[in-house]
Protein backbone atom coordinates (compact mmCIF):
# COMPACT_ATOMS: atom_id res chain seq x y z
CA UNK A 1 0.00 0.00 0.00
CA UNK A 2 2.79 2.41 0.92
CA UNK A 3 4.61 1.47 -2.27
CA UNK A 4 1.68 2.97 -4.17
CA UNK A 5 2.16 6.21 -2.23
CA UNK A 6 5.79 6.31 -3.28
CA UNK A 7 4.73 5.62 -6.86
CA UNK A 8 2.43 8.63 -6.60
CA UNK A 9 5.38 10.79 -5.48
CA UNK A 10 7.27 9.74 -8.62
CA UNK A 11 4.27 10.64 -10.76
CA UNK A 12 4.07 14.11 -9.19
CA UNK A 13 7.81 14.59 -9.64
CA UNK A 14 7.63 13.65 -13.32
CA UNK A 15 4.29 15.37 -13.96
CA UNK A 16 5.48 17.23 -17.06
CA UNK A 17 6.74 14.03 -18.65
CA UNK A 18 3.60 12.12 -17.71
CA UNK A 19 1.43 14.78 -19.38
CA UNK A 20 3.29 14.26 -22.65
CA UNK A 21 3.13 10.45 -22.62
CA UNK A 22 -0.35 10.17 -24.25
CA UNK A 23 0.68 12.71 -26.89
CA UNK A 24 3.82 10.72 -27.73
CA UNK A 25 1.93 7.43 -27.80
CA UNK A 26 -0.79 8.80 -30.08
CA UNK A 27 1.85 10.28 -32.37
CA UNK A 28 3.64 6.93 -32.61
CA UNK A 29 0.38 5.13 -33.37
CA UNK A 30 -0.59 7.69 -36.02
CA UNK A 31 2.84 7.95 -37.69
CA UNK A 32 3.28 4.19 -37.92
CA UNK A 33 -0.07 3.62 -39.61
CA UNK A 34 0.20 6.48 -42.12
CA UNK A 35 2.79 5.09 -44.59
CA UNK A 36 1.11 1.67 -44.67
CA UNK A 37 -2.47 2.84 -44.89
CA UNK A 38 -2.99 1.04 -48.20
CA UNK A 39 -1.79 -2.29 -46.80
CA UNK A 40 -4.66 -4.45 -45.47
CA UNK A 41 -2.38 -6.51 -43.17
CA UNK A 42 -0.89 -4.21 -40.60
CA UNK A 43 1.78 -5.18 -38.06
CA UNK A 44 1.33 -3.76 -34.58
CA UNK A 45 4.83 -4.86 -33.56
CA UNK A 46 6.77 -1.83 -34.77
CA UNK A 47 4.64 0.87 -33.10
CA UNK A 48 4.45 -1.24 -29.93
CA UNK A 49 8.24 -1.55 -30.06
CA UNK A 50 8.53 2.25 -30.15
CA UNK A 51 6.05 2.65 -27.30
CA UNK A 52 7.93 0.21 -25.06
CA UNK A 53 11.29 1.74 -25.99
CA UNK A 54 9.94 5.16 -25.06
CA UNK A 55 8.72 3.85 -21.70
CA UNK A 56 12.12 2.36 -20.87
CA UNK A 57 13.52 5.87 -21.32
CA UNK A 58 10.78 7.56 -19.28
CA UNK A 59 10.90 5.00 -16.47
CA UNK A 60 14.41 6.15 -15.49
CA UNK A 61 13.44 9.83 -15.12
CA UNK A 62 12.74 9.81 -11.33
CA UNK A 63 16.38 8.88 -10.72
CA UNK A 64 17.65 11.93 -12.55
CA UNK A 65 15.22 14.35 -10.94
CA UNK A 66 16.07 13.37 -7.38
CA UNK A 67 18.39 15.54 -5.29
CA UNK A 68 20.34 14.13 -2.34
CA UNK A 69 18.20 16.04 0.16
CA UNK A 70 15.05 14.62 -1.43
CA UNK A 71 16.30 11.06 -1.01
CA UNK A 72 16.97 11.87 2.63
CA UNK A 73 13.43 13.14 3.01
CA UNK A 74 11.95 10.03 1.38
CA UNK A 75 14.04 7.98 3.80
CA UNK A 76 12.43 9.86 6.70
CA UNK A 77 8.89 8.98 5.67
CA UNK A 78 7.35 6.30 7.89
CA UNK A 79 7.79 3.37 5.54
CA UNK A 80 10.30 0.63 4.89
CA UNK A 81 13.07 0.68 2.28
CA UNK A 82 11.19 -2.06 0.47
CA UNK A 83 8.10 0.23 0.19
CA UNK A 84 10.25 2.97 -1.30
CA UNK A 85 12.01 0.72 -3.82
CA UNK A 86 8.82 -1.14 -4.71
CA UNK A 87 7.16 2.23 -5.36
CA UNK A 88 9.85 3.09 -7.91
CA UNK A 89 9.47 -0.31 -9.61
CA UNK A 90 5.69 0.14 -9.66
CA UNK A 91 6.23 3.47 -11.39
CA UNK A 92 8.16 1.70 -14.16
CA UNK A 93 5.64 -1.13 -14.38
CA UNK A 94 2.74 1.33 -14.56
CA UNK A 95 4.41 3.13 -17.49
CA UNK A 96 4.76 -0.20 -19.28
CA UNK A 97 1.10 -0.88 -18.55
CA UNK A 98 0.15 2.46 -20.12
CA UNK A 99 2.05 1.41 -23.26
CA UNK A 100 0.18 -1.93 -23.29
CA UNK A 101 -3.20 -0.21 -22.94
CA UNK A 102 -2.36 2.25 -25.70
CA UNK A 103 -1.03 -0.57 -27.88
CA UNK A 104 -4.23 -2.60 -27.47
CA UNK A 105 -6.37 0.48 -28.08
CA UNK A 106 -4.38 1.34 -31.23
CA UNK A 107 -4.74 -2.21 -32.58
CA UNK A 108 -8.50 -2.08 -31.96
CA UNK A 109 -8.75 1.24 -33.76
CA UNK A 110 -6.78 -0.18 -36.73
CA UNK A 111 -9.15 -3.14 -36.77
CA UNK A 112 -12.17 -0.79 -36.85
CA UNK A 113 -10.48 1.07 -39.71
CA UNK A 114 -10.37 -2.20 -41.65
CA UNK A 115 -6.81 -3.42 -41.07
CA UNK A 116 -6.20 -7.04 -40.22
CA UNK A 117 -3.82 -8.12 -37.56
CA UNK A 118 -1.01 -10.55 -38.24
CA UNK A 119 -1.25 -13.79 -36.24
CA UNK A 120 2.38 -13.49 -35.12
CA UNK A 121 1.88 -9.98 -33.73
CA UNK A 122 0.72 -10.90 -30.23
CA UNK A 123 3.65 -13.22 -29.36
CA UNK A 124 6.08 -10.76 -30.96
CA UNK A 125 4.61 -7.92 -28.89
CA UNK A 126 5.01 -10.11 -25.79
CA UNK A 127 8.69 -10.59 -26.59
CA UNK A 128 9.07 -6.83 -27.14
CA UNK A 129 7.40 -6.17 -23.77
CA UNK A 130 9.66 -8.72 -22.06
CA UNK A 131 12.76 -7.06 -23.56
CA UNK A 132 11.45 -3.66 -22.41
CA UNK A 133 10.92 -4.93 -18.86
CA UNK A 134 14.41 -6.47 -18.82
CA UNK A 135 15.99 -3.22 -20.02
CA UNK A 136 14.10 -1.26 -17.36
CA UNK A 137 15.13 -3.81 -14.71
CA UNK A 138 18.79 -3.52 -15.72
CA UNK A 139 18.59 0.28 -15.58
CA UNK A 140 17.02 0.22 -12.10
CA UNK A 141 19.65 -2.19 -10.78
CA UNK A 142 22.35 0.10 -12.15
CA UNK A 143 20.82 3.19 -10.53
CA UNK A 144 20.30 1.54 -7.16
CA UNK A 145 23.84 0.16 -7.18
CA UNK A 146 25.57 3.35 -8.26
CA UNK A 147 23.40 5.96 -6.57
CA UNK A 148 19.79 6.95 -6.57
CA UNK A 149 20.61 10.63 -7.06
CA UNK A 150 21.94 10.21 -10.54
CA UNK A 151 23.33 13.19 -12.36
CA UNK A 152 21.61 14.20 -15.58
CA UNK A 153 24.79 13.30 -17.51
CA UNK A 154 24.92 9.74 -16.19
CA UNK A 155 21.18 9.38 -16.73
CA UNK A 156 21.67 10.48 -20.36
CA UNK A 157 24.39 7.88 -20.88
CA UNK A 158 22.35 5.06 -19.33
CA UNK A 159 19.35 6.03 -21.46
CA UNK A 160 21.33 5.72 -24.68
CA UNK A 161 22.57 2.19 -23.83
CA UNK A 162 19.36 0.31 -24.87
CA UNK A 163 19.29 2.17 -28.19
CA UNK A 164 22.95 1.38 -28.82
CA UNK A 165 22.35 -2.28 -27.95
CA UNK A 166 19.44 -2.34 -30.39
CA UNK A 167 21.63 -1.08 -33.26
CA UNK A 168 24.46 -3.44 -32.25
CA UNK A 169 22.10 -6.44 -32.30
CA UNK A 170 20.42 -5.53 -35.61
CA UNK A 171 23.76 -4.79 -37.28
CA UNK A 172 25.21 -8.13 -36.15
CA UNK A 173 22.04 -9.97 -37.02
CA UNK A 174 22.12 -8.73 -40.62
CA UNK A 175 25.81 -9.76 -40.77
CA UNK A 176 24.92 -13.25 -39.56
CA UNK A 177 22.09 -13.51 -42.10
CA UNK A 178 24.49 -12.58 -44.91
CA UNK A 179 27.09 -15.09 -43.64
CA UNK A 180 24.83 -18.08 -43.33
CA UNK A 181 21.35 -17.27 -44.50
CA UNK A 182 20.35 -20.94 -44.66
CA UNK A 183 21.11 -21.52 -40.97
CA UNK A 184 19.47 -18.27 -39.96
CA UNK A 185 16.39 -19.21 -41.94
CA UNK A 186 16.21 -22.54 -40.09
CA UNK A 187 16.53 -20.76 -36.74
CA UNK A 188 13.83 -18.29 -37.72
CA UNK A 189 11.60 -21.17 -38.77
CA UNK A 190 12.00 -22.88 -35.39
CA UNK A 191 11.39 -19.58 -33.63
CA UNK A 192 8.32 -18.99 -35.79
CA UNK A 193 6.90 -22.40 -34.95
CA UNK A 194 7.29 -21.84 -31.19
CA UNK A 195 6.64 -18.13 -31.11
CA UNK A 196 3.68 -18.36 -28.73
CA UNK A 197 5.66 -20.38 -26.20
CA UNK A 198 8.66 -18.10 -26.54
CA UNK A 199 6.37 -15.10 -25.96
CA UNK A 200 4.97 -16.53 -22.72
CA UNK A 201 8.35 -17.74 -21.48
CA UNK A 202 9.99 -14.39 -22.15
CA UNK A 203 7.23 -12.56 -20.24
CA UNK A 204 7.59 -15.00 -17.32
CA UNK A 205 11.38 -14.55 -17.29
CA UNK A 206 11.06 -10.73 -17.42
CA UNK A 207 8.52 -10.60 -14.58
CA UNK A 208 10.63 -12.95 -12.44
CA UNK A 209 13.72 -10.82 -13.12
CA UNK A 210 11.78 -7.67 -12.21
CA UNK A 211 10.60 -9.10 -8.88
CA UNK A 212 14.05 -10.47 -8.03
CA UNK A 213 15.63 -7.12 -8.95
CA UNK A 214 13.23 -5.17 -6.73
CA UNK A 215 14.13 -7.38 -3.74
CA UNK A 216 17.83 -7.07 -4.56
CA UNK A 217 17.61 -3.27 -4.94
CA UNK A 218 15.76 -2.96 -1.59
CA UNK A 219 18.54 -4.94 0.09
CA UNK A 220 21.25 -2.83 -1.54
CA UNK A 221 19.46 0.41 -0.59
CA UNK A 222 18.95 -0.77 2.96
CA UNK A 223 22.69 -1.11 3.43
CA UNK A 224 23.57 2.18 1.77
CA UNK A 225 23.44 5.74 3.09
CA UNK A 226 21.37 8.31 1.24
Amino acid sequence: MKALKFMKIDYIKTKQQVMFIPVFLLLIAAIMIAPDSDVPNYSAVVPFCYMIFMMTIFSATPFGSCRKEETGFLQLLPATTWDRVAGRFLYGVSLMSIAIVFGIAAVEIYRILGFEMNAMDIPLCMIVLAVGILIMTAEYIFFYLFGENTSQNLLGIVRTVPGMCFFFVTANLSKEIKKDSEKMFQIMQVVGEHLKTIGWVSIAVAVAALIAASVFCAKVTDKKDC
Binding site: K5, I12, Q16, C66, R67, E69, E70, F73, A79, D225
Partner: protein, 283 residues
Amino acid sequence: MELLEVRNISKHYKNFSLENIDFVLPKGYIMGYVGQNGAGKSTTLNIITNICKSTEGEVYVDGVTCKENALHYKECIGYIGGDFYYPHNFTVKNIRGLLKNFYTTFSVEKFDEMLGKWKLSDKMKVKDFSQGMKVKLMFASVLARETKLLVLDEATNGLDPVVRAEMLKLLQEYIADGERSVIFSTHILSDLEQIADYIYFIHDGRKVLYDAKDELLESYLLVKGERRAITQQLQRELIGIVDNAYGFEAILPSDKADLLTNEFHFEKPTIDEIVIHYIKDKE
Protein backbone atom coordinates in the same frame (compact mmCIF):
# COMPACT_ATOMS: atom_id res chain seq x y z
CA MET B 1 12.94 10.34 31.14
CA GLU B 2 15.24 10.35 28.11
CA LEU B 3 13.64 10.96 24.75
CA LEU B 4 16.82 10.62 22.73
CA GLU B 5 19.67 8.29 23.64
CA VAL B 6 22.73 8.24 21.43
CA ARG B 7 24.93 5.33 22.49
CA ASN B 8 28.54 5.34 21.31
CA ILE B 9 27.84 5.92 17.66
CA SER B 10 30.72 5.89 15.21
CA LYS B 11 30.78 6.34 11.48
CA HIS B 12 33.82 5.82 9.31
CA TYR B 13 34.31 7.46 5.93
CA LYS B 14 37.45 7.50 3.80
CA ASN B 15 38.60 10.91 5.03
CA PHE B 16 36.58 11.38 8.17
CA SER B 17 35.53 9.45 11.23
CA LEU B 18 32.89 10.19 13.79
CA GLU B 19 34.03 8.55 17.02
CA ASN B 20 32.02 7.38 20.03
CA ILE B 21 29.36 10.04 20.19
CA ASP B 22 27.37 9.39 23.33
CA PHE B 23 24.70 11.56 24.95
CA VAL B 24 21.14 11.66 26.19
CA LEU B 25 18.48 14.31 25.77
CA PRO B 26 15.65 14.26 28.31
CA LYS B 27 12.07 15.15 27.48
CA GLY B 28 11.29 18.87 27.48
CA TYR B 29 14.78 20.14 26.67
CA ILE B 30 16.68 21.66 23.76
CA MET B 31 20.20 20.55 22.91
CA GLY B 32 22.54 22.69 20.85
CA TYR B 33 24.89 20.59 18.74
CA VAL B 34 27.82 22.75 17.77
CA GLY B 35 31.07 22.51 15.89
CA GLN B 36 32.91 23.77 12.84
CA ASN B 37 32.03 22.88 9.26
CA GLY B 38 32.99 19.25 8.71
CA ALA B 39 33.14 18.49 12.45
CA GLY B 40 30.49 15.77 12.11
CA LYS B 41 27.31 17.59 13.15
CA SER B 42 25.25 16.67 10.09
CA THR B 43 26.61 13.10 10.15
CA THR B 44 25.41 12.70 13.75
CA LEU B 45 22.00 14.20 12.99
CA ASN B 46 21.69 12.06 9.85
CA ILE B 47 22.39 8.96 11.93
CA ILE B 48 19.74 10.03 14.44
CA THR B 49 17.20 10.49 11.64
CA ASN B 50 18.38 7.23 10.02
CA ILE B 51 19.26 9.02 6.79
CA CYS B 52 22.62 7.35 7.17
CA LYS B 53 23.65 4.32 9.17
CA SER B 54 26.22 4.27 11.94
CA THR B 55 29.15 1.87 11.73
CA GLU B 56 28.80 1.22 15.47
CA GLY B 57 26.43 2.17 18.25
CA GLU B 58 22.70 2.63 18.62
CA VAL B 59 20.23 5.49 18.68
CA TYR B 60 17.02 5.24 20.70
CA VAL B 61 14.14 7.65 20.16
CA ASP B 62 11.29 7.28 22.62
CA GLY B 63 12.84 4.01 23.76
CA VAL B 64 13.11 2.26 20.40
CA THR B 65 15.75 1.96 17.70
CA CYS B 66 14.84 2.35 14.04
CA LYS B 67 15.55 -1.36 13.52
CA GLU B 68 13.12 -2.35 16.28
CA ASN B 69 10.21 -0.20 15.11
CA ALA B 70 10.92 1.88 12.01
CA LEU B 71 7.41 3.30 11.71
CA HIS B 72 7.15 4.57 15.30
CA TYR B 73 10.74 5.86 15.19
CA LYS B 74 10.10 7.82 12.00
CA GLU B 75 6.71 9.11 13.15
CA CYS B 76 8.38 10.49 16.30
CA ILE B 77 10.99 12.52 14.43
CA GLY B 78 10.47 15.83 12.69
CA TYR B 79 13.47 16.90 10.62
CA ILE B 80 14.28 20.32 9.23
CA GLY B 81 17.49 20.71 7.26
CA GLY B 82 19.41 23.68 6.00
CA ASP B 83 18.70 22.47 2.47
CA PHE B 84 15.12 22.33 1.33
CA TYR B 85 14.19 18.68 0.87
CA TYR B 86 10.88 18.69 -0.98
CA PRO B 87 11.03 18.15 -4.75
CA HIS B 88 11.25 21.55 -6.43
CA ASN B 89 8.31 21.05 -8.77
CA PHE B 90 5.95 20.27 -5.85
CA THR B 91 3.29 22.77 -4.87
CA VAL B 92 2.17 23.27 -1.27
CA LYS B 93 -0.93 21.29 -2.23
CA ASN B 94 1.24 18.35 -3.30
CA ILE B 95 3.16 18.49 -0.02
CA ARG B 96 -0.06 18.57 2.02
CA GLY B 97 -1.32 15.50 0.13
CA LEU B 98 1.96 13.67 0.59
CA LEU B 99 2.12 14.30 4.35
CA LYS B 100 -1.53 13.39 4.81
CA ASN B 101 -0.89 10.15 2.95
CA PHE B 102 2.11 9.11 4.98
CA TYR B 103 1.69 10.44 8.52
CA THR B 104 -1.20 9.20 10.61
CA THR B 105 -0.97 12.19 12.97
CA PHE B 106 -0.75 14.89 10.29
CA SER B 107 -3.37 17.59 10.81
CA VAL B 108 -4.47 19.40 7.65
CA GLU B 109 -6.16 22.10 9.79
CA LYS B 110 -2.97 22.84 11.73
CA PHE B 111 -0.94 22.87 8.52
CA ASP B 112 -3.34 25.25 6.76
CA GLU B 113 -3.47 27.49 9.81
CA MET B 114 0.32 27.86 9.75
CA LEU B 115 0.35 28.42 5.98
CA GLY B 116 -2.24 31.17 6.42
CA LYS B 117 -0.28 32.77 9.25
CA TRP B 118 2.91 32.77 7.17
CA LYS B 119 1.16 33.71 3.91
CA LEU B 120 2.40 30.69 1.97
CA SER B 121 0.38 30.30 -1.19
CA ASP B 122 -1.20 26.93 -1.88
CA LYS B 123 -0.67 27.03 -5.62
CA MET B 124 2.90 28.30 -5.83
CA LYS B 125 5.63 25.87 -6.74
CA VAL B 126 8.07 25.58 -3.87
CA LYS B 127 11.01 26.38 -6.16
CA ASP B 128 9.64 29.94 -6.32
CA PHE B 129 9.71 30.31 -2.52
CA SER B 130 12.32 32.45 -0.77
CA GLN B 131 14.68 30.76 1.71
CA GLY B 132 12.57 32.06 4.60
CA MET B 133 9.37 30.70 3.04
CA LYS B 134 11.00 27.32 2.47
CA VAL B 135 12.06 27.08 6.11
CA LYS B 136 8.58 28.11 7.24
CA LEU B 137 7.06 25.44 5.02
CA MET B 138 9.35 22.79 6.51
CA PHE B 139 8.41 23.99 10.01
CA ALA B 140 4.70 23.88 9.13
CA SER B 141 4.98 20.36 7.72
CA VAL B 142 6.72 19.13 10.87
CA LEU B 143 4.67 21.03 13.46
CA ALA B 144 1.39 19.93 11.90
CA ARG B 145 1.92 16.40 13.14
CA GLU B 146 2.52 14.76 16.52
CA THR B 147 6.29 14.47 16.66
CA LYS B 148 8.31 14.01 19.81
CA LEU B 149 11.77 14.98 18.68
CA LEU B 150 12.67 17.83 16.37
CA VAL B 151 16.00 17.51 14.60
CA LEU B 152 17.21 20.78 13.12
CA ASP B 153 20.32 20.75 11.00
CA GLU B 154 21.36 24.37 10.54
CA ALA B 155 17.76 25.14 9.75
CA THR B 156 17.90 28.78 10.79
CA ASN B 157 21.09 29.66 8.91
CA GLY B 158 20.43 32.14 6.14
CA LEU B 159 17.27 33.50 7.75
CA ASP B 160 16.86 37.15 8.60
CA PRO B 161 16.86 38.00 12.34
CA VAL B 162 13.07 38.52 12.48
CA VAL B 163 12.22 35.11 10.98
CA ARG B 164 14.96 33.49 13.07
CA ALA B 165 13.53 34.93 16.26
CA GLU B 166 10.08 33.68 15.21
CA MET B 167 11.45 30.16 14.64
CA LEU B 168 13.26 30.13 17.98
CA LYS B 169 10.02 31.11 19.69
CA LEU B 170 8.31 28.20 17.94
CA LEU B 171 10.93 25.81 19.30
CA GLN B 172 10.34 27.03 22.83
CA GLU B 173 6.60 26.58 22.40
CA TYR B 174 7.22 23.11 20.99
CA ILE B 175 8.93 21.85 24.16
CA ALA B 176 6.64 23.76 26.53
CA ASP B 177 4.52 20.70 27.45
CA GLY B 178 7.63 18.91 28.74
CA GLU B 179 7.03 15.87 26.53
CA ARG B 180 9.02 16.86 23.47
CA SER B 181 12.64 17.76 22.78
CA VAL B 182 14.76 19.47 20.16
CA ILE B 183 18.28 18.81 18.95
CA PHE B 184 19.58 21.75 17.05
CA SER B 185 22.80 22.31 15.12
CA THR B 186 23.73 25.82 14.10
CA HIS B 187 26.60 28.17 13.43
CA ILE B 188 24.72 31.02 15.06
CA LEU B 189 25.73 30.37 18.64
CA SER B 190 23.80 33.36 19.95
CA ASP B 191 20.64 31.37 19.05
CA LEU B 192 21.81 28.57 21.31
CA GLU B 193 22.55 31.02 24.08
CA GLN B 194 18.89 32.00 23.96
CA ILE B 195 17.18 28.64 23.84
CA ALA B 196 19.48 25.65 24.45
CA ASP B 197 19.44 23.75 27.74
CA TYR B 198 22.33 21.44 26.81
CA ILE B 199 25.37 21.97 24.64
CA TYR B 200 27.26 19.24 22.83
CA PHE B 201 30.42 20.52 21.20
CA ILE B 202 32.08 18.32 18.62
CA HIS B 203 35.41 18.82 16.86
CA ASP B 204 36.92 16.64 14.16
CA GLY B 205 34.37 13.89 14.81
CA ARG B 206 35.02 13.73 18.56
CA LYS B 207 33.30 15.10 21.63
CA VAL B 208 34.93 18.14 23.18
CA LEU B 209 32.29 19.35 25.61
CA TYR B 210 28.90 18.11 26.72
CA ASP B 211 27.02 19.69 29.58
CA ALA B 212 23.99 21.70 30.58
CA LYS B 213 24.41 25.19 29.12
CA ASP B 214 24.26 27.00 32.45
CA GLU B 215 26.79 24.59 34.01
CA LEU B 216 29.04 25.09 31.02
CA LEU B 217 28.88 28.86 31.29
CA GLU B 218 29.61 28.60 35.01
CA SER B 219 32.51 26.22 34.43
CA TYR B 220 34.69 28.64 32.49
CA LEU B 221 36.07 32.14 32.77
CA LEU B 222 37.14 34.39 29.93
CA VAL B 223 40.53 35.70 30.94
CA LYS B 224 42.23 38.78 29.47
CA GLY B 225 45.56 40.33 30.30
CA GLU B 226 49.14 40.75 29.28
CA ARG B 227 51.16 37.78 28.08
CA ARG B 228 54.10 38.44 30.42
CA ALA B 229 51.84 37.96 33.44
CA ILE B 230 51.08 34.32 32.57
CA THR B 231 52.82 31.91 34.89
CA GLN B 232 53.89 28.44 33.75
CA GLN B 233 51.14 26.83 35.81
CA LEU B 234 48.50 29.17 34.38
CA GLN B 235 49.82 28.60 30.86
CA ARG B 236 49.05 24.87 31.28
CA GLU B 237 45.48 25.55 32.33
CA LEU B 238 44.53 28.28 29.84
CA ILE B 239 42.58 27.06 26.81
CA GLY B 240 43.00 28.61 23.36
CA ILE B 241 45.26 31.57 24.04
CA VAL B 242 44.70 34.24 21.40
CA ASP B 243 46.95 37.29 21.17
CA ASN B 244 45.37 40.61 20.41
CA ALA B 245 46.27 44.31 20.49
CA TYR B 246 45.73 44.50 24.24
CA GLY B 247 47.53 41.34 25.28
CA PHE B 248 45.88 37.93 25.24
CA GLU B 249 42.49 36.31 25.67
CA ALA B 250 41.76 32.71 26.66
CA ILE B 251 39.32 30.65 28.70
CA LEU B 252 40.09 29.00 32.00
CA PRO B 253 38.17 26.36 33.97
CA SER B 254 36.44 28.19 36.84
CA ASP B 255 37.95 25.85 39.43
CA LYS B 256 41.40 27.18 38.46
CA ALA B 257 40.40 30.78 39.17
CA ASP B 258 42.79 30.88 42.13
CA LEU B 259 45.65 30.97 39.61
CA LEU B 260 44.55 34.43 38.48
CA THR B 261 46.19 37.47 40.03
CA ASN B 262 45.07 41.10 40.01
CA GLU B 263 46.91 41.57 36.73
CA PHE B 264 44.17 39.70 34.89
CA HIS B 265 40.68 40.70 34.00
CA PHE B 266 38.10 37.91 33.86
CA GLU B 267 34.41 37.60 33.10
CA LYS B 268 31.74 35.04 32.30
CA PRO B 269 32.23 33.82 28.68
CA THR B 270 29.55 33.28 26.05
CA ILE B 271 29.08 29.90 24.36
CA ASP B 272 30.62 31.47 21.28
CA GLU B 273 33.79 32.36 23.17
CA ILE B 274 34.12 28.93 24.79
CA VAL B 275 33.76 27.24 21.40
CA ILE B 276 36.19 29.59 19.61
CA HIS B 277 38.90 29.15 22.25
CA TYR B 278 38.49 25.38 22.32
CA ILE B 279 38.82 25.24 18.54
CA LYS B 280 41.89 27.48 18.75
CA ASP B 281 43.33 25.13 21.38
CA LYS B 282 42.70 22.06 19.20
CA GLU B 283 44.39 23.71 16.25
